[in-house]
Symmetry: none
Subunit: 459 residues, 2 copies
């Protein structure tokens, strides 16, 4: 049976690509209100495709933001149920002048398909739809039960997904969550991601004098809030790159010697990484390798800073205030609430009495480590080996997918992260691309995943 | 004769105010290239007024930046010649939302006229033009010879004025320079300023990765240029508020015990000052009083900072670069060139090897102390006592008027600084204002100054 599925995938490569291009042409930018009709049109496009390939109970559920698309196929009694999660919204394409072809005019150059959303996440959603399509057209059925949950607000922090999951716990009951929204370790190296960092995003505002002052007339007599802000940011890290917030590391699960050895064994090319970032030297917490730093250690980064006169030329003022956005990536078992509270306490303590400091909190997400010993992970490993002709490596990722924690907490489900992006695919940047060879290998791997999971004893 | 001049000033108060409003309506912002035509229009406005009141040889001299306006009246043989310097350009008005009325829509509220440039320096230039106007219309002559030099680039550091002064030494020959671009010690307290701080204005740019990076995917592995910038700014000062640049204080003239005593004797209300700035506590270099800190000690201030994402909400990036504008106020005998070089060396030394730091220099000006024992200073003291009914105090000012050093060095001229602004006039800030009572008292004092100087034996 699987042979016919694989032949079908192969013979329909061009049609699959054309379908993905149609998906990518819809500018479903969730963060820009003017794109709201496009986002809705994109949801309808996904729902239509679900219906066309034979999924049932297909629904486009409105939220006060963008809709959630759901579809299912449950005619495999006694077999495991997979909840496949993905998203059809995309990041804004700006700055437009840095794109070599239009962000919503999908264009093949060399081995790559260029478009906003090519890998993040439309291309990866599409390869699953095509794998399911091939199973259904060739065999009239699927090897497992499948529920698809494709949302339209991932790029703005999934503000309505938690409520949807809580309100639809029966409908979403499953054995495992599958997500293809992560990257592979390298072009030819299939990968299963077992850890994601969490996030807590803060903003510090330092208020000095009630208005901007002439730096000649008043300079020397009053605390400069931007100077105070710089001193606070400086005090948040020590010379070893460790974060100085008391209690910050209390809940960090230390890396085991086994995991350190496994990470060290990965064929990581530090020089190529450094060159790609365009820096003369890498930097980070003393005592950890680069992969450990980005995958398994918490970090604190200034995401933005603003204060005073920033135009061309010179303006001689003492700014009235300064602002910095600071986010921290978290690792198990840190929690965003506790870290946010510790951050706020520490920044307040660091503030000199000559300025007024306020701290507020933006988005957050919990870190996760998913178990690697369950049968769905084994099914993914077998599937990837079939799709790529090579055993997968187990990796972590520095970014965050907060919904993974929701699935664990609300539905009690583990998640398998089987992604097909590449570290240089420029998700969120101009010229986002999906390597087409990996698009097809991913489709084959997805077809195998459903097949392999159908053979497993989970359920 | 002076009585008729004074009556004329009094009867034309409304007309003088309307004329100033017309002057203030021209948005002559020298630092913004789009305002170039406005700056030119403002120069022509000043020149037209000079011609209207009867000055001669009136010229608008173009530079590669903004023009310089010159006019003269030299029909008082045997009398001293005053070179009156002022500027018709203004600071940028931003942030616009903090103005209660438009910055270029001059508006009287209470005793004050609100507009960008109201005191700095259009209002103070205008009161001299009106004092000269009253003399010329009432007596057909002036008590002294007068040369007016009104430039359009003071707020951007007078980049073309030095060359103009050097090229026009004969034309500008005089006995004394008079400038009204400083503030009074207090509302009812006329003041003669004998010291100005110098300035050197720098910009630090820190370049990290070649483009903004996802803070999840890469956070922890690469130096954050905004963090590096914060650390550099922090390292520029010690906990006592002293500047850490090696050699920075080498050329500072220490305050004499006599001058410290004189400054301490001024009726300075520190609580009122603090309240006016809107801060809970003052701050500055340990071991010095507030007046010493702002008048007689060098300082370093961050004037602006920018890097990364600064919009609403959150964007999880490691910024590619960060920028800070940093200026230092200098006191005799510090020189801008030496301090700029020391700053550049020190910042370069502080820069970690993981980022690229570049330092560039904007405007600069030398600090000055002017002699207080010359007859023009006595004329100013008498004139202020006539205008305000109270003897002036001798003060210094924290700001900079770099051209004072040029007049001394190129023309060999002392400068009398007789200013009518107030410490809370918000020059360079939103809601800049000129106290109208002092506008008129200043006009009377200016009329008296020319009268008194005509009686002096200088020449």
């Amino acid at each position: 049976m699987i042979d016919r599925v694989l032949v079908s995938i192969d013979t329909h490569r061009d049609a699959s690509l054309e379908g993905l291009k149609a998906f990518l042409r819809i500018p479903s930018v969730s963060t820009h209100p003017p794109h709201k009709p496009d986002v809705l049109r994109c949801a309808e496009f996904v729902a239509a495709e679900m219906r066309r390939i034979g999924l049932r109970q297909v629904e486009v559920t409105p939220t006060t933001g963008h809709p959630i698309v759901y579809g299912e196929w449950l005619d495999a009694p006694g077999k495991p149920t997979v909840l496949m999660y993905g998203h059809y919204d995309v990041q804004p394409p700006e700055p437009l002048d840095l794109w070599d072809s239009g962000p919503f005019d999908p264009t093949v150059r060399g081995d790559n398909l260029y478009a906003r959303g090519a890998t993040d996440d439309k291309g990866q959603v599409w390869l699953h739809l095509k794998a399911l399509d091939a199973h259904l057209t060739q065999t009239g059925r699927l090897p497992v039960n499948v529920k698809l949950l494709i949302e339209g607000e991932e790029e703005i922090g999934s503000p309505h997904l938690d409520a949807y999951v809580r309100a639809n716990q029966d409908r979403l009951r499953a054995d495992v969550v599958l997500i293809s929204d992560t990257t592979m370790f390298d072009y030819d190296q299939p990968s299963i991601c077992y850890g994601l960092r969490g996030l807590v995003y803060m903003e510090i505002e330092v208020q000095g004098p009630s208005k901007d002052l002439h730096s000649g007339g008043f300079g020397g007599s009053v605390a400069n809030p931007v100077q105070a802000l710089a001193e606070i940011l400086t005090a948040l890290k020590d010379p070893d790159g460790r974060i100085t917030i008391p209690g910050f590391y209390d809940d960090v699960q230390p890396l085991t010697p086994e995991e350190r050895a496994a990470l060290a064994a990965l064929p990581f090319d530090e020089d190529a990484y450094r060159t790609r970032l365009g820096v003369s030297a890498l930097a980070g917490e003393t005592g950890y390798s680069t992969l450990e730093r980005i995958w398994a250690r918490p970090t604190l980064e200034v995401n933005g800073i603003l204060g005073g006169f920033t135009g061309e030329g010179s303006k001689t003022i003492i700014p009235s205030r300064g602002m910095a956005k600071v986010s921290m990536r978290l690792v198990p078992d840190q929690t965003p609430d506790r870290i946010a509270a510790l951050f706020e306490e520490h920044v307040t303590r660091l503030a000199p009495p000559t300025v007024t400091v306020t701290v507020k909190r933006h988005s957050s997400g919990k870190p996760v480590l998913t178990p690697t010993d369950q049968s769905a992970v084994q099914a993914a490993a077998h599937a990837l080996e079939r799709g790529f002709g090579k055993k997968p490596v187990f990796i972590r990722e520095g970014g965050s997918i907060p919904v993974v924690a929701t699935f664990r907490e609300v539905l009690g489900l583990p998640t398998v992260l089987m992604g097909f992006g590449l570290p240089d695919c420029d998700a969120h940047a101009p010229n986002e691309k999906f390597n087409l060879k990996n698009f097809y290998r991913g489709m084959v791997s997805a077809a195998w995943f459903y097949e392999e999971l159908g053979k497993s004893s989970d359920k």
